[in-house]
């Protein structure tokens, strides 16, 4: 039966219960679990042990690469075709700052956006959770916790009890 199960989905009445439940299951050593809330909840990412900083780091790297590339291109172009305007130096660096700045911003924007989409696995047209009709409330006012069956410590009966102890309103089995 476990092979055809994606996990257990439990609904919680509010953000605080979801937060304490997430902490509790993390403390019990579960790693394959995810919480769902209609808005970002402070502390929920720490409770689930999310500490990655790949989005801002990618944005920074892209910003530096794009900015340096833009500056290098302007310098190269000025040397490749030296053009005397009013006796200004061939390498008039103050004039290059604006395009360099604009391209730095482009790099940061694309880096942040695309790394967010990529790391979140988008676009993802199908997910087992979409089979649970009540899960629609996650984008309205529902707070959910999903304990996934792929977790080595997954034991449906025992976890069901713990979920109820933590204040779950109801629990559904999510077919894989």
């Amino acid at each position: 039966m476990d092979e055809r199960l994606h996990g257990l989905l439990a609904r919680f009445p509010d953000a605080d219960r979801l937060l304490t439940a997430s902490r509790d299951f993390r403390r019990r050593g579960l790693t394959r679990l995810d919480a769902y809330s209609p808005h970002p909840v402070d502390g929920l990412d720490q409770a689930l042990g999310l500490r990655e900083r790949r989005v801002p780091v990618t944005a920074l790297v892209c910003a530096v690469v794009a900015g340096a590339g833009a500056l290098a291109l302007q310098v190269y172009a000025s040397l490749d075709y030296p053009f005397n305007v009013g006796g200004k130096p061939v390498l008039s660096w103050p004039a290059y700052t604006i395009v360099t700045f604009a391209m730095t911003m482009v790099g940061a924007t694309l880096g942040a956006m695309l790394s967010m989409l990529w790391l979140n696995g988008f676009p993802r047209p199908y997910h087992p959770l979409f089979n649970v009709a009540e899960f629609d409330a996650a984008s309205r006012d529902g707070y959910f916790l999903c304990l996934e069956a792929s977790d080595p410590l997954f034991d449906a009966e025992r976890l069901r009890e713990h979920l109820l102890q933590n204040g779950a309103l109801w629990i559904r089995e999510v077919p894989a």
């Binding site: 953000a15 997430s22 995810d34 919480a35 769902y36 809330s37 209609p38 808005h39 970002p40 909840v41 929920l44 990412d45 689930l48 999310l50 990655e52 790949r54 989005v55 801002p56 944005a59 910003a63 302007q74 172009a77 000025s78 490749d80 075709y81 053009f83 008039s92 290059y96 604006i98 395009v99 700045f101 604009a102 391209m103 911003m105 482009v106 940061a108 924007t109 694309l110 880096g111 942040a112 956006m113 790394s115 967010m116 989409l117 790391l119 696995g121 988008f122 676009p123 993802r124 047209p125 199908y126 997910h127 959770l129 979409f130 629609d136 409330a137 996650a138 984008s139 309205r140 006012d141």
Partner: protein, 453 residues
């Protein structure tokens, strides 16, 4: 402050009721009749833009009232005006988010959409002004047989990069903020086709804590870079004028002065759109008088900077002791374009003082009038900067007056129609109020109430 009067959302409004209400404006059966009337009128107006563009492209930019010495005229006036309007959208969605202003939640979406469409229009004018828009790619650095490069010292190249990067940034920011709301619409939709439409756009967003974690990181990065973008884009455009040696253009105060004016007209436009949303969808309890009051305060802050800049410009012109600088001002005050100068003073210096009164800021007709005056005043300001400075610069032999042609006015009026059409379609297809921002705001409010009571 009276808490009842300063209410940002109705008491007891829950996240569920809010989501249902806002998504009903998108998924509901029929939009209100006023929406159809407005769309019809705006579509007629936008046809003028289409006719103007087709005519100008077929006979050349001479159709506009451009001539030497005034080579810029309406296209550049309108570019500066539109890009300025866009800036308030970025400020509301990013800077007010960084400073944790709760009142931005219900107006941020319409402000972002406004920014997006304003930039598209701002970008279309320089293309028209080229006369041969098919060669716009000459501004890009690309390998070519002539071994030529763009002129990197030219403000026109800076402009191209500034506007293009701003467009990309605004589009990304708008999509980012729409993403969780698209998922809400997907989950609320009942028809298969509608579910597919929003489902594809939502890319599989599941409101997971992992999604929100990376979403917030990306949002923070974009919000932080929005701060320099807000001050740099209009600042860069002002350099088109300020780096030249034309008296009336050559002022170091231009970048901050342009940015303040941009934000003033932008907040005015946000106020107009907020009032429109209240009337169309009955969002009077979500976009309250407290929101209008705050928009009015923002307008007041920036118009005072603009007024200071007017004073400073006149002072600088006379303090330099240069006859050319002084004569620009005598000409602005008494010359052929004096009505535009005094019209600008009337709107931006005299009538704008109405913003000091809370009673006016909170009254819908009062703020609407002040906002329209602000947009007109800022357009007159851009007009007098672009036209009066070049029509009479150094050599009397080069002086001339130009008159805007009918095509100038038709295209300008039409572009406002295009803007309204795009905005009306947007608020029908997408939630006009950011649902996830509002849910977060309501959640914080509930926590605060729990802490205090």
């Amino acid at each position: 402050m009276n808490p009842r009067r300063d209410r940002l959302a109705p008491p007891g409004l829950g996240a569920g009721a809010l989501t249902d209400r806002v998504s009903a404006t998108v998924l509901g059966t029929r939009p209100p009749r006023a929406w159809f009337v407005a769309l019809g009128l705006a579509t007629l107006l936008s046809l003028l833009f289409l006719i103007g563009v087709v005519y100008v492209l077929s006979v050349g930019v001479g159709a506009f009232g451009l001539n030497i010495p005034v080579a810029w005229g309406f296209p550049i006036i309108n570019t500066i005006w539109w890009i300025g309007i866009a800036h308030a959208g970025t400020l509301i969605s990013a800077v007010l988010w960084l400073t944790r202003q709760d009142w931005r939640a219900s107006i941020s979406r319409s402000a972002e959409a406004m920014a997006m469409f304003a930039i598209v229009l701002a970008g279309s004018y320089p293309l028209l002004h080229l006369g041969r828009p098919q060669f716009a790619y000459f501004l890009l650095p690309y390998p070519n047989l002539m071994d030529l490069w763009p002129q990197w010292r030219s403000p026109l190249v800076w402009d191209f990069f500034a506007i293009a990067s701003y467009l990309l940034f605004t589009a990304s920011f708008l999509f980012l903020s729409l993403l969780p709301d698209l998922a809400s619409l997907r989950d609320r939709a009942r028809h298969r086709a509608v579910q597919l439409f929003y489902g594809v756009l939502a890319l599989g967003w599941r409101n997971s804590a992992r999604h929100w974690h990376r979403y917030q990181q990306a949002h923070r990065v974009l919000a932080v870079i929005a701060v320099p973008i807000v001050v740099s884009v209009t600042g860069t455009i002002s350099l088109d004028l300020a780096v030249s040696i034309v008296p009336g253009f050559h002022f170091t105060i231009f970048p901050p002065y342009f940015v303040a004016g941009a934000l003033y007209s932008g907040f005015a436009t946000v106020a107009i759109i907020a009032i429109m949303l209240r009337a169309l969808f009955g969002f009077r309890d979500l976009i309250t008088r407290a929101h209008l009051n705050r928009l009015g305060i923002m307008m007041l802050c920036f118009v005072l900077v603009v007024d200071y800049a007017y004073l400073q410009e006149v002072f600088t012109a006379f303090y330099t002791g240069e006859d050319f600088y002084r004569s620009v001002y005598y000409d602005r005050w008494t010359g052929p374009y004096a009505p535009f100068y005094w019209g600008m003073i009337l709107c931006n210096v005299v009538l704008a003082q109405g913003l000091w009164f809370r009673r006016l800021r909170e009254s819908v007709p009062g703020l609407l009038c002040l906002a329209v005056i602000a947009d007109i005043g800022m357009w007159l300001e851009r007009f007098q900067i672009v036209i009066t400075s070049t029509h009479k610069d150094y050599m009397p032999s080069a002086w001339d007056t130009v008159t805007p042609s009918a095509w100038d006015w038709l295209t300008y009026a039409g572009s406002i129609g295009v803007f309204v059409v795009l905005l009306l379609l947007f608020i029908k297809l997408m939630p006009a109020i950011s649902m996830h921002d509002m849910r977060e705001m309501l959640h914080r409010r509930k926590q605060r109430e729990a802490d205090h009571g």
